[in-house]
Amino acid sequence: MTWLTWQQFRVQALTATAALAAFAVLLVATGPHLASLYAASGIRGCQPASCEHLASNFLQQLYTAGTYWVLYLLGVVIILLAPAVIGLFWGAPLIARELETGTSALAWNQSITRTRWLAVKLTLTGLAAIAVTEGLSLMQAWWAAPIGRAVGYGGGGTNLAMGRFSSVVFATHGITPLGYAAFAFALGVTAGALIRRTVPAMAVTLAIFAVLQVAMPLWIRPQLFPARHTVISVASLDSISLQQGGLNGSSFNLGTEDLPGQPGAWLLSSGAVNAAGHATSTTPAACTAQSMRNTPAFLDCLGSHGIREAVTYQPASRYWPFQWTETAIYLALALGLAGYCFRRLNRRLS
């Protein structure tokens, strides 16, 4: 059965190997130079006071140079798309193509049960799917390590400065790509077994996977662990976004990008609260005079009127628990779908 699986999977396997190799060549050709730029940036061994500045400069340099930003983006997009492509082109046809061409009648009438046939196919192709996607992710992680370190030092100011919890970085680094690949593959196989035609099965696979990949970072991931809440003084905020509106600046909106003392935390929401602890957007009358002109004075004024910033966040230390949990969810879904395929095949579909 291994032999037959390989015969049928050869073209896809070679395509995937070629894609991996091309990606590796691209990264190996540019990675060392990226690392040397990092070495020259002086971030390594920086004084605490200057680290953030040096890191921002480094990221700015990469961003304006263009190439690295494009490569980074390319890598991320490839890793995000790989599971979908695998689900479409490896998963969906696995059973559907056999049913469509009638070869299922040939395969399932050799001296081997359907369960074994599917087990070998799912295992070998599924492991290949996982290996390819995780391989891409690890290569990208190696290449982009300097960028990650600079972001870790607090570097900011460009699109490259995405934290580990940002949707893009979280979904392309660590072990999550592995879970996505396993799930997308199993989803494709199941859709194929149910719909029995390859192209519609591909469409359904893509639709479901896309919806889940959007829902995950937006609604599901933040709920995986109970978020923490904290209230901090306005004065201690160092990265704020302030909007003012209404007549003479009678209303304001105060947000923050990071949390003092919690580097790398995942901020879910932030907003001003009044002395009683309720969310507020009304500028205290005494502060309207400063409001439009002088931001520091305005913030001081807000602080002196008991207004503070409430932040909901996930601490940075939860990065790996989040990674493991999310990957486990996707793997469990994949196993559930695979189990369903076994049951369906044994209930004699032909």
């Binding site: 015969q7 009638g102 299922s104 009648a105 040939l106 009438n109 049960t113």
Partner: protein
Amino acid sequence: MTAVIEAGGLGKRYRRLWALSDCTLSVPAGHVVGLVGPNGAGKTTLLGLATGMLAPTTGTIEVLGGRPAAGPGQLARVGYLAQDAPVYAGLSVAAHLRLGAHLNPDWDAELARGRIDRLDLDLRQKAGTLSGGQRAQLALTLAVAKRPELLILDEPVASLDPLARREFLQDLMEATAEQGLSVVLSSHLVGDLERVCDYLIVLVGSRVRLAGPVEELLARHHLLSGPRRDPGSLPDGMQVISASHTDVQSTLLVRTSGPILDPAWTVSEVTLEDLVLAYMSQAAGRGRRNHLEVQR
């Protein structure tokens, strides 16, 4: 000897449509069984149930005493050539033989190679580029070389031209004789089966209308012609399967266990084709009458 196919009250429904209903059959071993019926009669469904490609909705079916496709052992005992002889278009002829060798413990490599050589198939040719006849031969080679006890073929010659048809059936008969196989093959044309079958099952409108050894069936049916008379006036034990009348003459196809004694009849032998057509039109007529009754 165990029956090759033993079915009791077997039925298969697709959504609301019964493709096969109330099928009770016992096909003894050692025959070449022809399963004949018009398109859509349920032949493929019956064979699908026998190979375990389909699960029955009602009733039971046992093949060679076991549940179809129950395990590797059962699968090894039954060879199946599905309709249109599916093969992997992207794999070569040689790869198909290796597939058979890998997936069947009793694979007869010599037999397979011998057949491919005799059929003049190019081992390196992709199966997708073979002609219909060659493809059927390749699929038959796979089914035969796994050394089954029972070979099931679904419309094996439907897509072949007359010459390829004859060659295929001849070849099938040789393989059958050499290996002492039981064979069940279906066709919607009696002509295909006449030369090769010694057991016949007629399936019309999802029901089995007739089943038995060909010789016995031919011995029990007679074609009577004589002066016109009412079929109802025939003696008991004589069942009219089909009747046609001119102004003066009646021609009846009857089923009877005893001899025809009435001297008014000219008795002649029926051919297999007459027989099958009579049962098919009888079933069709019955269907039509039922339909009318419903409308009324």
